[in-house]
Symmetry: C2
Subunit: 247 residues, 2 copies
DNA sequence: GCAAAAGTGTTCGTAGTACACCCATGA
DNA sequence: TCATGGGTGTACTACGAACACTTTTGC
């Protein structure tokens, strides 16, 4: 409840609350070379100087947490503001352990984002380096970022089951094989391609054929039909990962 | 990212951030007389003095948001700390619009809770009144609490589908009819009792028979067997509401 | 006996799974 | 012509929806 709602029975002076810093942290996922990657930055200052961490930053006085997350995403990935605005950002939750930052009280709102394969992040103007890291090889992270990342992975995996979010990992035009590859990469399981194909095509609005009937080859093999994302955002019924596995 | 993570390229002084107040808001649901109810409090101060709002309060300097939510829940419902600790609290999300509180910058972490039918909340020591209100008759609420409540309702409905959370609404021993009633009340749909029964009993760990084979009557009709909540917390496969309806 | 709620049995349709098989291309 | 990935066909199975029917109580 906002300030000066009812006070706890013990009495509490609304003007005496300790100030909190509010930040956002981002778990930005992409699929590169059929492996799940996440964007990490190297910290330049103490604490945890030299350690890897999730990108993020302060929420500015006149923006919401979601706006801050979008701004940080554009800055870290080099995407234009417009492109970043179109991407799906998922609020994961808020991490508020009093000791999560050793210096002061910091409450952080975590977001997960799925982006298509992008070039290596530009270094940015400041000291911190940023790079894509394979998910399975993520090193120890600063603060409670390992927890956040684990939650993000679980959430993204679950989201693929009942939304069309997987298309966010794909370029504007993609083959069904590429789409299946996204699921397999995020879930870490193999899928039956024929059944996957039927499932996707029988779900109205999941994908639509790319208008001109061009085809494309992934090297060898029969050229595949191209599709683009459809209007639907939810999947009824869901596309469940085999045996409820979670990697 | 916590304080002094990398700064935005434009430059940002970590010591100059505006202080935020951090609060928790609670959407506490219960089932009374087969109808969904939510706990509301009447505001005693401006802004929105006299208006109804969700219970909640400040996060104290040495507690996490989750701890604050549990504390508030115990205070508002009159439950003992131990009982409140055992209840399931679900973090819904964080509401951070810069203008959501007209006086200052307040970021609020919202939680949903499901409790069995409780006596009318004690007035508490302060001026604010609290009462159970039927969900469908909730008046206009202060701040963005109507948004929070709508999100909470949706989340609770979805949670029932793939968790055993419905047992939280029930007394320690309950009949399958009562459990079905919870689903029907929250979802606003009718269920086929025979199928519901089979579904619940065939899900390992959802419920277990109450040891002594006592039976109970809900007035007329055949006495029903009593069950208590089982160990399981997840439902595989889920118990989907008919036709994906969402009320 | 009748209404009401608990509980059992059975049928039917649909959706997922598994897998055989054909097609189009590069090397 | 072989390997590779795209794409089609089909049988099997499991599970949910629907609903008939029996049981046990209060009135």
């Amino acid at each position: 409840m906002p300030a000066e709602g009812r006070e706890p029975p013990g009495g509490y002076d609304p003007s005496a609350f300790e100030p909190f810093a509010v930040t956002v942290d981002l778990a930005v996922f992409t699929v590169r070379e059929n492996r799940l990657h996440v964007l990490l930055v190297e910290r330049g200052q103490e604490p945890y100087a030299g350690a890897w961490a999730l990108p993020g930053g302060f929420v500015l006085p006149r923006e919401s947490a979601g706006q801050a997350a979008r701004r940080e995403l554009a800055e870290e990935t080099g995407l234009s503001e417009e492109t970043a605005t179109a991407l799906h950002l998922e609020q994961l939750g808020t991490y508020s352990d009093p000791d999560r930052d050793p210096r002061m009280r910091v409450v952080s709102v975590a977001y997960a984002a799925l982006v298509p394969d992008l070039p290596e992040p530009r270094g940015g103007g400041d000291a911190a380096r940023a790079r894509w890291t394979e998910f399975r090889s993520v090193p120890a992270l600063a603060f409670d970022h390992a927890d956040i990342l684990a939650d993000a992975d679980e959430r993204v995996g679950a989201k693929l089951e009942y939304t069309t979010l997987a298309t966010e990992f794909c370029p504007p035009e993609f083959t069904l094989g590429e789409l299946a590859q996204v699921y397999e990469t995020v879930w870490g399981t193999a899928l039956d391609r024929p059944n996957f194909r039927r499932k996707v095509l029988s779900t109205p609005g999941f994908v639509q054929p790319a208008e001109g009937p061009p085809r494309r080859t992934g090297g060898r093999g029969k050229p595949a039909a191209l599709y683009r994302a459809g209007d639907a955002t939810r999947l009824h019924p869901p596309l469940l990962r085999p045996e409820g596995r979670t990697r």
